[in-house]
């Protein structure tokens, strides 16, 4: 069992962390949650009967632990429809996104509806693998593709319009 668990840690720690980061939007919370997920996996491993694949099982634990963390810490759900005060708190939480000195990405994410943000962030974290993102989020691959297409299109159109306002061309 110890060897199996070490293999899970080696193979899944990055993906668990990325999924948690994409759901929570905060590095510290993602690390704490990833720890909880791996400890739960260790406890549950003796009872794991391989009825689902290992990855499906681990991603399901991750999503559940993240949802619990979101409820417990009342982390905002990144909705553009939120009231102004909550949006301000959300912007603060999004400071965690601004890795690699790229504040633009955080600003771009803020423009997207909540359901697109996680898919977009995870897609770029997972080396643009539609399959992997769909599996991690427990979502049909078609939905992942649709969300990504709409998110990229709406951002590109907004940016293009800001650069070349209508009537100037």
């Amino acid at each position: 069992m110890a060897e199996d668990f070490e293999r899970i840690v080696r193979e899944y720690q990055d993906r668990i962390f990325r999924l948690a980061f994409s759901m929570l939007g905060n590095r510290a919370a993602a690390e704490e949650t990833a720890q909880d997920v791996l400890v739960r996996a260790w406890r549950g491993l003796p009872g794991f009967r391989a009825e689902s694949s290992l990855s499906t099982w681990i991603y399901a634990i991750t999503r559940n632990v993240c949802l619990t963390a979101l409820r417990r810490h009342e982390i905002s759900a990144y909705s553009l429809e939120e009231p102004a005060a909550q949006r301000a708190a959300e912007r603060h939480a999004f400071a965690g996104w601004a890795v690699a000195d790229s504040p633009d990405a955080a600003a771009l994410l803020e423009r997207l509806p909540a359901r697109y943000r996680q898919v977009v962030a995870l897609f770029y974290m997972q080396e643009k693998s539609y399959d992997e993102v769909a599996s991690m989020l427990g979502m049909p691959i078609g939905t992942v593709k649709t969300y990504l297409f709409r998110a990229r299109q709406s951002l590109a159109e907004e940016l293009a319009q800001e650069r070349v306002p209508k009537g100037e061309a």
């Binding site: 840690v9 720690q13 990055d14 668990i16 962390f17 990325r18 980061f21 590095r27 690390e31 990833a34 720890q35 791996l38 400890v39 260790w42 996104w97 601004a98 890795v99 690699a100 790229s102 633009d104 990405a105 955080a106 771009l108 977009v120 962030a121 897609f123 770029y124 974290m125 080396e127 990229r152 951002l155 590109a156 159109e157 907004e158 940016l159 293009a160 650069r163 070349v164 100037e168 061309a169």
Partner: protein, 102 residues
């Protein structure tokens, strides 16, 4: 999925049109900028090196400290219940035999 040759043709046509159309050129540039921004921000996110050691430490703590068991309390309860039941059975007999002697 179109074959690479067809994709190249599509791109050439799009590029050809964008060369004359400021709006479409801005849109193509914006698509590229969105991709670059997200690739830069999220391209190399991985678990912090502290994660695995922290998990191993938590598991080691769990193994050392076994979960508190309810068994002693349950056995204690059963023992006391048995004592009370025996007393309830014996005391009336004792009282009766004491009354007979007196």
């Amino acid at each position: 999925m179109a074959c690479p040759e067809f994709q190249d043709l599509l791109r050439d046509r799009a590029d050809g049109h964008a060369a004359h159309c400021e709006h479409c050129r801005a849109l193509l540039d914006a698509f590229a900028d969105v991709d670059t921004a997200f690739e830069t921000a999220f391209g190399d996110i991985s678990a912090p090196p502290t994660l695995a050691p922290a998990v191993r430490a938590r598991i080691a703590r769990e193994i050392r400290i076994p979960r508190p068991s309810m068994l002693p309390e349950v056995l204690d309860f059963i023992g006391w219940a048995a004592v009370l039941a025996l007393a309830a059975l014996i005391v009336p007999h004792l009282l009766l035999s004491l009354g007979a002697v007196l």
